[in-house]
Amino acid sequence: MRPARTALLSVFVFAWATSLCLGSASPAEAQKKGGTLTIVRPTDPVSLDPQLETTAPGAWVYFNMLEPLLTMDEKMQIKPALALSYEILSPTKVRFKLRPGVKFHDGTPLNAAAVKFTFDRALRGTPPARWASLAGSLSGAEVVDELTVDVMTREPYGPILRTLAMYCTGIVSPTAVQKMGPDFSRAPVGTGPFKFVEWKTNTHVILERNADYWGDKAPLDRVIFKVVPEEGARMIALQTGDADMVLLPAPAQLASLKRDSKYIVHEVVGGRVVFAGMHAGFAPLDDVRVRTALLHAVDRKAILENILEGSAVPARGVLAPSVFGFKDMQLDKLYPFDRAKARALLAQAGWTPGPDGVVQKSGQKLSLSWLAARGRYPKDGEITEAIQAMFKEVGVEAKVQFLEWATVFTQFRAATLNQHMFTLGWVTSNADADYSLYALFHSKQVPPTGWNTSRYANPRVDALVEQARRSLNQTEREKLYGEVQDILAKEMVWIPVYNTKEIVVTRASVKGFTVHPVEYNLWLGKVWLDK
C-alpha cells in the first residue's frame, strides 16, 4: 500500500473553449446554425437510461443528453465535464468541485445531491444498473456542500477517474427520475447540449438543441436517429440524402465512398480487439511451444486484406492502442507468419507429421476443438474459418463448431470450458488496462468470476495487475501494465487478430464531426450542416 498522494489539479477553462472540445471546424469555415441531422443505424436502443443500457444503440443517443463528471477527448485524455476540478483525498476518496450554474433540461439545478442520487441509484437501486458492473470498485458519493462531492471506492482503485469519464456514468435529474419512475428510461433528463423530444420504438429517436446549455450551444436544431437494420438500405439512404450520417456502414463500400467527394469517411482505431483464444489449461495447448507455433501459422495480413477489407487494423497486442497502459507487443516481429517455424516448433514439442498430413505424438493426432459464433463481431465466422485453414497448412486439425451467440456465451461463462479454442472480442469499456488485463489474465478471474477464458495462470502477472489496480499513481501503473504485457507476449494465450476501426460515413455537408476511439462516444455537440 503506497501512502495516499494528494494532488490538486486545477483545470483551466478558457472562456471561448468548452472542455468538451471534441472535433472542431477549421477556422476558415463559418459555422452555420440550424438544420436537422439524420443518422441511420441498425438497431433501436434498449433504453435511453444508462441504468438499463450500456451498449452502443442507446449510448450513441444518451451520450448527447447525459453528461458525466469527466469525459475523454478523442486523444483519450481526461477532460472536465460537469466537474471542474478534482482532488485525490485518499486512495479510496476523490473530491470533485462541480461546475456552477448548470441546470438539467427540466430546470433542476445540478448539485452534489444529484451526483449522489445518480450513483446511489446505479449502485444500490432496483433493478440494479447495467453499468454498475463496469464501474469496478466505485461504491458511492457523499455530499460535502452544494457544489462539492466526494466519490468513494471500496478499495484503492487506480482506474477511478477513467471510470467516472465513462459514457454511461452521466448524471441524471433526480426530480425527473422521481417524477417519471420507469418512464425515465424512455425520455431521460440530463444536462447535455441536446434534450429529448420523442422516441417511436423501432422507428426513430428525436433530440433537439438545449438552448440553456452551459457550454457552447449545439449548432444543430435537431438530431433524428433512424433505425435501418439492412446494411444495403442504410447506404442507399445516405446516397438519396435521406440520411446525413451512417453508423456501421458497409465495409465493402468504403473504398468507393472515399473516392467520392460527396461523402466523408471518418475513421479511427477503436477499442475492441478480436482474437482467437486458446485454453492454456487444456493439453496440448498447455505447451507454450504449441501455442507459439499456432501464432506463427496465422497470416494476419491476408486475413485483414481479404476478409476485413480495410475496416480494421492488425491487433498490436491484447489491448487496443487507445487504452491507457497499452504497450505494443510487437507481434509481427515476435511471431511473424512463418510456416516452417511453426512446423519446427511443433516438432520440438514432439509433434511430427502423420500419414494424413496431421501432426501426431505417440499415435494421437493434434486436433483442436473450437467454439465460435457468427455475426457477434465483424467477420468473426470468416476469420475463424481462415485460421482453421491456416492451421491445416502446418498439420494442425481444428474442428470448429458454430453456434448462436447466446449459446456460445453461456459456454464461455461456465466454470469449465471443454474447448481448445474460442473466437471472442473484447472492448476495454473504461479505456483503462486494468479493465482488461485484470479480468482476462488474473488467475482468480476464471469464469464465472471474470473472463479469464484462457485459464492463464501466472503468479507474477497476478501480483502486477493487483498492484497496478491499487495504485493511484498513473505513471507507475503504466509501467506495471507494460511489464504485464511483456510477460503475456512471451506466453501468448491469444492469437490477436484485429483491432476494430470506428467508422462513420457522412455526407460532405456535415461539418465539425470527429469520430471517437470509444464507439459509444458519438459527440454531436459541435456538428453543423453546410446546406
Partner: protein, 307 residues
C-alpha cells in the same frame, strides 16, 4: 350463429394456454440466459444473481408459468425483461404497423392475384397466361430481402419516387407492402387459375352459357363464387403467414412491426415480451380462422346449415 362464434372463442383458450407453455418451455430449453445476455460480457456474477432474483427468473418453470397465466388472466402482460417496459406498450407500438402492412399486402395479393388468376383461366395458354405463370414462379422463388433491395434501388435511388424505408406516410407503405405481397400474390394467382379452370368445366357453367348468360356474368357469378372456397382458405392461411413472416420485409424496409420485435425478444431470451407477441399472433390466427369459416357459410349455404 352467435353460439357458434362463442363456442369457437372458448375453444381458443386451451390453445392459448398451450401456446404460452410451449413458448416458455422452448426458451427454457435453449441455452442462453436472458440476464447474462442482458448484462453482457462485463457483468459480475453477483450482478447477474441480483437481477435474476429481481426478475423472478430463479423460480422454477412451472411456478413462473402459473404466475404468468394468472397475471394475463387479470389483463397484465407484465414488463419486458430487457427494457423493463410494460409489454402492452411494446406491443402497442408494433401491432398497428404490422396490421397495416399485413392488411395492405393481403389486399394487393388478393386483388391482383384473383384478377390475374381469372384472366389466366378464361384465356388459358394465351400470352398473358404464360407471362402470369412465369411471373408467379418468379414471385414464389425470389427471396424477400433481394426483391426488397431491388425495389429500393429502382424506386428510391434511380427514380426517386418513394422513400427508402421507415414509416410516416402512405408512400412509405407501397414498397414493403408490394414486396411482402409478391409470394402470396403468386400463390393466389395460381390457385385461382386452377380453381376457376376446374369450375368452368362444370355442367352448370355449360347450362348457364346455354341459357345465354353473358360470359362476364358466367365467370363472376357462377364460376368465381364456386371457385372462391379454396382461394379463401389460402388467403386465410396467408394472413397468418404474412403477420409472422414479415420479419425480413420489416428488416429491409425498417418497418417497426411485430416480426422484428419477436426476433429481438428471442435473441435476448426475453420470454415475457415474446409471450406477449406470441399471444397476439395466436389470437389473430384464431380470429382469422373464425372469419374464414364464417365466410364459407356466406359463400355456400350448405356449409352454413351444418355449422
Amino acid at each position: 350463429m352467435l353460439t357458434f362464434v362463442a363456442r369457437r372463442l372458448l375453444l381458443a383458450i386451451p390453445v392459448l394456454l398451450g401456446v404460452v407453455f410451449v413458448v416458455m418451455l422452448t426458451i427454457e430449453l435453449i441455452p442462453g440466459d436472458a440476464v447474462a445476455l442482458m448484462l453482457g460480457e462485463h457483468a459480475t456474477p453477483a450482478a447477474v444473481a441480483k437481477l435474476r432474483d429481481y426478475l423472478g427468473l430463479d423460480k422454477p418453470l412451472l411456478i413462473r408459468y402459473v404466475g404468468y397465466v394468472g397475471r394475463v388472466a387479470r389483463g397484465d402482460l407484465g414488463r419486458s425483461i430487457q427494457q423493463n417496459r410494460p409489454v402492452i406498450d411494446e406491443l402497442g407500438d408494433a401491432w398497428p404497423a404490422t396490421l397495416e402492412l399485413t392488411a395492405a399486402a393481403l389486399v394487393i395479393a388478393a386483388a391482383a392475384g384473383i384478377a390475374a388468376g381469372v384472366v389466366s383461366a378464361v384465356w388459358p395458354n394465351s400470352a398473358f397466361d404464360a407471362l402470369a405463370r412465369l411471373g408467379s414462379l418468379f414471385g414464389l422463388s425470389m427471396p424477400v430481402f433481394w426483391t426488397g433491395l431491388v425495389l429500393i434501388v429502382v424506386f428510391a435511388l434511380w427514380l426517386p419516387w418513394l422513400p427508402v424505408g421507415g414509416t410516416g406516410s402512405p408512400s412509405h407503405l407501397v414498397l414493403p407492402a408490394v414486396t411482402l405481397a409478391l409470394p402470396s400474390l403468386a400463390m393466389v394467382a395460381r390457385m385461382t387459375r386452377s380453381s376457376v379452370l376446374d369450375v368452368l368445366r362444370e355442367d352448370y357453367v355449360r347450362t348457364a352459357r346455354a341459357k345465354g348468360v353473358a360470359e362476364r356474368l358466367v365467370v363472376t357469378k357462377h364460376a368465381l363464387r364456386n371457385a372462391a372456397i379454396p382461394i379463401l382458405t389460402l388467403l386465410g392461411l396467408q394472413a397468418g403467414q404474412l403477420m409472422g413472416g414479415a420479419v425480413l420485409t420489416e428488416t429491409v424496409f425498417a418497418w417497426p412491426g411485430l416480426g422484428r420485435l419477436m426476433v429481438k425478444a428471442i435473441f435476448a431470451r426475453d420470454y415475457v415480451l415474446l409471450q406477449g407477441a406470441v399471444l397476439i399472433f395466436a389470437l389473430a390466427f384464431v380470429v382469422v380462422n373464425l372469419a374464414v369459416d364464417l365466410a364459407y357459410g356466406a359463400l355456400d349455404p350448405r356449409i352454413a346449415r351444418q355449422g
